[in-house]
Symmetry: none
Subunit: 212 residues, 4 copies
DNA sequence: TATGAATGAGCATTCATTCAT
DNA sequence: TATGAATGAATGCTCATTCAT
């Protein structure tokens, strides 16, 4: 089950989500993920949600607003582990190693991907075509968090745990390997895929590759 | 300049491409890349190509046929370096090192990506939504070439040059790093990006990470 | 005035026919009758009906659905006089003669044709090209009613009023004469056509031709 | 085999029909008969005929011209038996009875229908929608021949063989019965239809019905 | 004479959006 | 607030016809 399914199960009487709104969001996520934003019709979404077509436009002025309403919350959560608290946690526990940090990250982000698969699919698909989404992404993901990760990497480089390359290069190399692992897990991860081992191999690869 | 631009510049009198066909393909590539397949209208493509809308449908029975006509040739070339000749070249030159092989690959594939950027964008965007494209991909890319790469990796593992992990795992790790490098180069590669150095760092990262 | 004009004049608030629906049906009947189904454009029908083109497709999923919606009700009424009640009426009144029965039929069916002229034109024109219409016709017209007519003819044959030919042959001969009368009346019935006399002559012709 | 098939088999070198023309006519007849004029595309006809689309328009300026070229010759032959020669033949042989005349007519016209089925289908379908066809029909069929038939009927009425109704009424009654016979033969004439007997019954019905 | 590429108006149908109820 | 009928512009696609070759 994905995050949004859980969120929408909790019927909050006084909350901001009415039952119909939930069903619209649910239907839109499913449809956008399956056919892409452009190829999804509001008519189809309305039918799947069991509401009138007009109801969608009462809550979201345009079809694109609906897309943004779906994608924006995930954007914020994309960088959740890099908010100040977590950063400090890492930096404070001076005994933490880069390996421990990497393991935590991989585990955490993999869980996040699994729990937000549909919306992430939509996000990745639609970002190139909607400047609004790109702006949101840069604002939420690319600014602050990147700076924080840079500091973490610098911290471990000072500790001599990883190779003294430019921090963004280190980030790119590590991120590529992790992303490749997660994507592969989702594309071919049905059979003959030993997830535990593959994750371990990926971590070892990064550690070796970044050893000073 | 991209490959297809070069291809379409050669005005071949008796060739299979008429002038109008070329202009249609060119306009379609540009439009699909810019807005995505679904959001591109045949009307717009026709106008951009300077032909009547009916002319598009004389050459390509449906809009999807046009997409496939654009994407299919790139699919074949995706795996070009893995055809038998190249494979043998590598395996025959027994003195070749894994490093040499890796360098050749990175250079070759980066060139390919640069020279087919628009169509690759379209391909990646549209594959999830068109079973025909997925089928073409599996047929051209996923079957034979994968087997060949596996053999190359086994060859270098036997030579003791790289770590004895499962060949597909090695492939994944190396491919992720290279893909990450190419994507980053294209997303942020305008300023403050020293391409030569970043490529070198990526190769060193893979070599270190895969050292036995 | 034709039946459908009367039907659509009654503005039923809670009925199933909205004002726009009526106007669409009316416009479609006129257009189909005048130019044939294939040569009628939905654009023209929409304009004649004073609605947007999209409105037609809200009520009738396809152009063919519109045709069927027009033609189907007439199909049911085609065989109205042969439903069980009427059949029994004839058979019960043992004193009824074949002549009385024939007169009733001719009068009744001529009225029906006159009151459904446009739609019958459409029906006859389009039946050869639409399997759906043919199926409807066989289902509503060709099955039960034919059997009932057969029984009526058998009844009069047993009474010795008409020649003992196979019932379907008797039906064919009588039907041809009546149909020929009605068609002629409508094709040339403007001037020099004494309808009363021609009907009488047709009836006498059938009676004489079928005398035992 | 139908008349036009025979006509087009004779490859006349110096005749007015080239091979391509024949194939166009053949393809058009088949297509028009199957789908109706409006629903037939010149593209489909060209393909079926194995010629280029342009070739059709070299021979027939418009699609409608092609229709007329097909239908017109049949129109002339529709009234063949009523040309002066035949008329005189009947009137001269004073010993001829109305029955002999009727039999000759039924046989002759049935053969004609059988040998021109496709084109007659097209003619009947399209006459209501093309004033040109209606004009041709009135010119060829409705004028002279009708007058001649009237004279023949008057002749037999004077001989006292048939009832002294208005000649056109007599024609209508006889024609309806014959037409009904021919149509029924073609619609249901596959099984349980004894053609010889039904023809005889029809003739007897007419003779009895028209007896003075 | 025959071709078939090219046309652009026209086609049935779908679309996101509006608005009276 | 929610509806769903209505809209008309836009869609992918087909059409009869033209014309350079």
């Amino acid at each position: 089950m994905e995050d949004w399914e859980e969120i929408f199960q909790t019927t909050d009487k006084d909350g901001q989500w009415t039952d119909k709104q939930k069903r619209i969001i649910k239907a839109a996520i499913e449809t956008f993920a399956e056919k892409g934003f452009s190829a999804s019709s509001t008519n189809e979404i309305a039918k799947k949600a069991g509401v009138a077509e007009g109801t969608i436009f009462r809550h979201y002025k345009t079809k694109k607003d609906l897309l943004i309403a779906i994608v924006a919350p995930v954007m914020s959560k994309l960088i959740a582990p890099f908010v100040i608290r977590d950063l400090n946690k890492v930096l404070d526990k001076k005994h933490d190693t880069f390996e421990a940090f990497l393991r935590a990250m991989v585990h955490n982000r993999k869980l996040f991907v699994e729990r937000n698969l549909s919306i992430l699919k939509i996000l990745i698909q639609e970002i190139p075509f909607h400047p609004e989404l790109k702006a949101l992404f840069e604002q939420h993901v690319a600014k602050e968090p990147l700076e924080k990760v840079k500091n973490i990497i610098l911290y471990f480089q000072e500790k001599g745990e990883i190779v003294p390359l430019p921090p963004y290069t280190v980030l790119r190399l590590a991120f590529s390997a992790v992303a490749g692992y997660i994507v592969t897990a989702h594309l071919f991860g049905t059979n003959t895929w030993d997830d535990e081992k593959e994750m371990e191999r990926t971590i070892q690869f990064i550690l070796k590759g970044l050893k000073p």
